[in-house]
Symmetry: D2
């Protein structure tokens, strides 16, 4: 598979958008391999993802952005351009639980996630051993209410130093400050409930208490509001009266692994377009 | 299939319960066709359902209760006794939407629900025509904040008059008063969300706004607290950015029909045991 | 919602297809409300669905086909053109079971299926009563191995007479002849198994015998090969050892209703593109 | 949790079975923590699982079997007795794919599988490195049509030597001989299709060719007939036209991991009772 370029575009709906964007690719000799669009009529927004092969495309990479900008600006479009051979760098943040971490590493090794994982950050030393096993740097940054600001500064410094594109909170279990999120907005979190049910702490315990018959997990982008960010993926599993809290936690682990991995995968493939509090996931 | 008797029992956990209950059936010549039990170790409660054939059972029906009581009382057990040939009578309460009503009638006609449906109550006249079609009495009891108490009295009188065992709120869309529920506690409601997400009004609109990837429906017993009663059944369906609110409502209709029908069915089969805010559904 | 036109196109993959098709719409003043495409790289085929508003479109309806043909022919494209305000006419074929029939009628009445249902054909007289109830013509065409050819001629004549666009086999339970299918190829069938498991008769019985833990239903276009046509939709439900054959049949009914309705709906919305033995369903 | 004993019993249905078995436990001072039963009326067979705490049970372990036999024999019952603190020993057999192997090891380490994994056998040397990483013995036993019998003898010898209770074929991709299975019948296999669809080789390729909309995986006990053994667990996942064979394989991996792990778990908990070609899984 040769390298591809992908445009993610959102702009006010109007006639001719598909034609204009497709013409831009075609006029420059590009071969579209994936194109999908969606119009949100409620807000009058057109959203599209176009992916084309760079082989045979006349424009050199560095000229694509300026050339496309000339089309996008009059349309008042917001857009991102990505190249498939630019491998994003992920920092995985963990606390004490290892299942999501191991799963992400396994999938990256199995080529399901096209990314590098050079960095693990944790507020606990426990999972250092896994980092060692896979040759990933592990930084133990203990955090509490008193030292939060300075420790977040340390974390941001690590992200810069390792040239990180995406932070994945793989059961990190702590809230990021508003300041952190505004400085580093590319963060995906896995919440162990079917949001918006059971926002916050101990969702499995609360799901058990409520006597629900199905539990879930939710992967979302992190915003300053706890568990309120745009949802990327959700999944559920059936439970019964036979399942106690420990069973919910065990069954939930499988959900968490699966949902987080799917969300990270579609993000890495530049299939997720955020607008307002919502996402379009172009499958 | 010959008639059966079913005991639903809950009592503090202790040694010998299975033996004692099984011996009661066996000593009287009964043949158990279904027995299931569950111990909730968190609260130390033993819950069981035993169903046996009445053919060959030595005790006449009217003596089963007093005989079993002699066993249950020393164990501090709560219990119910049901006979499979006693056909419960259902009142279906509706507002303007017909899908759950039609589905319940269809299933009753198809022998999926072992019950009679002699009565439909509605706060709107719209669905009278369906009642006529199937020969079911339809009572239009318009209700508002001013006349609620007297109209609920009228509703209770109808339930008595028609000898109703179970009220099914098939998209009734109004809240029953605390007083009503304490006078007639056997009420199943369908809520068009995956509880506890989106308690209250307009759940599909709110699910859309939140950008969830899965929607659900919940059937539960009605208590005085809105959408807080013990959950009997839940089901979900995947949605995408392509689904607007109208699509959620359409997809939700299928969920609502399915979930409500399943809940009513297991209730009618005496498979649901409520304790605290939870249910055990003995499948 | 104003009327729309929809093109379903498949053609050998090549550069510029998206641009060419979009330009055709745009150049004639059309506003695209849905566009989706898929490339099957294994066979080098480009498949697309484009829907645009007719309001403001400069070409009169009768000129769209010839105008588009001038674009399509050099590309060796196969295509269909549909207008959203042309309401297709469905004939539902049944045997003795009523659940799929009732469900389709109910959905049509609830505006979930944009079609007319003027005709029911059956090899049994049993469901005449339902046809009467809803004011649909019912033709009893008993069929056996001896009279098959002449009876199929009668059925074809009815389809012509009623101007039918689509036949839905809603548990018709008989095989159409090769001759019939070649004369009237627009036929959707519901098979009560998860194809290709349990092709042919008595799938629930055989699923029970095999001890599967999940059962399914499949909606597919009918071809001359039994249960081998292109699959439109499938769904499954979990079963357990507690479910006997009667339970499988009961649970299966819900699957059958749901799967058939979804398949008919996407077909009526011109979202299904068949190529080879496969379908693309543009959601 | 103190140690428990579990009886898995199947016997011809007759009056008093629940009472007899429960009395045996109660009379000896046992506290039942789980009891479930099922009657297969089609074949007149009663199947039950009873688990009770050994603490306070008067009979010493070595006398339970003879004592219970006195009850079971007149009833013509088949039965197994297991103790929860006897940790079964698993041999995992693999070929070249590591995902099921890694998943099983991870779950065993996470205490989801109460077993030891002292042995990995493979017909390829590739996964030796994983065995080393986790300190598990790895035996490379290359096998082909010529050397099958002698290599199976070697494999059987290894199972004896390592005192193995259960063989898990974690994508072993080769067929065991009738002779092997009769000598070592405790074997669980994961088949990468929704059986009975796509028995045999290349199920994902064939699922893609057939154009199914859902794929599945099946865990079953191995018998001499290929992919015909009693099914323990199945699961499915939805696919679309966008998924090519590589996507099916990727999505299937998650199914395979999940389904195999669940099947091994319920087997290890002595929750699976096989009769004929079927299983009862007591949840």
């Amino acid at each position: 598979m040769t390298a591809t370029a992908t445009l993610l575009i959102s702009c006010p709906d109007q006639r001719g958008l598909v034609a204009k964007f497709a013409n831009f690719i075609y006029a420059n000799g590009g071969n579209i391999v994936h194109a999908d669009q969606h119009t949100d009529f409620a807000v009058g927004l057109f959203l599209t993802r176009i992916e084309w092969q760079l082989e045979g495309f006349h424009l050199p990479r560095e000229l694509i952005s300026p050339a496309f900008n000339a089309i996008a600006q009059p349309l008042d479009a917001k857009w991102e351009l990505h190249f498939s051979d630019t491998v994003p760098r992920i920092a995985i943040w963990v606390s004490r639980q290892d299942h999501c971490l191991l799963d992400l590493i396994w999938r990256q090794r199995a080529s399901e996630l096209a990314a590098e994982i050079p960095l693990i950050i944790s507020n606990h030393p426990d999972l250092q051993i896994i980092a060692n096993q896979f040759g990933i740097d592990y930084h133990y940054v203990p955090i509490n209410n008193e030292n939060k600001l300075e420790q977040e500064a340390k974390q941001l410094e690590l992200l810069r130093q390792y040239n990180i594109d995406l932070v994945v909170l793989a059961k990190y279990m702590r809230i990021l400050s508003f300041d952190f999120v505004s400085k580093f907005p590319q963060v995906i979190n896995i919440h162990h409930s079917f949001l918006p049910a059971f926002v916050g702490a101990n969702p499995y315990e609360r799901a058990y208490q409520r006597g629900v018959k199905i539990i879930g997990a939710t992967a979302h982008y992190v915003t300053a509001d706890l568990d309120q960010g745009p949802i990327i993926e959700q999944e559920v599993v059936r439970i019964s009266h036979r399942d106690d809290v420990a069973d919910l936690i065990r069954k939930g682990k499988d959900l968490e692994r699966m949902v987080l991995a799917r969300a990270v995968r579609v993000h890495l493939q530049n299939r997720v377009l955020v607008y307002g509090d919502r996402t379009v996931v172009f499958e």
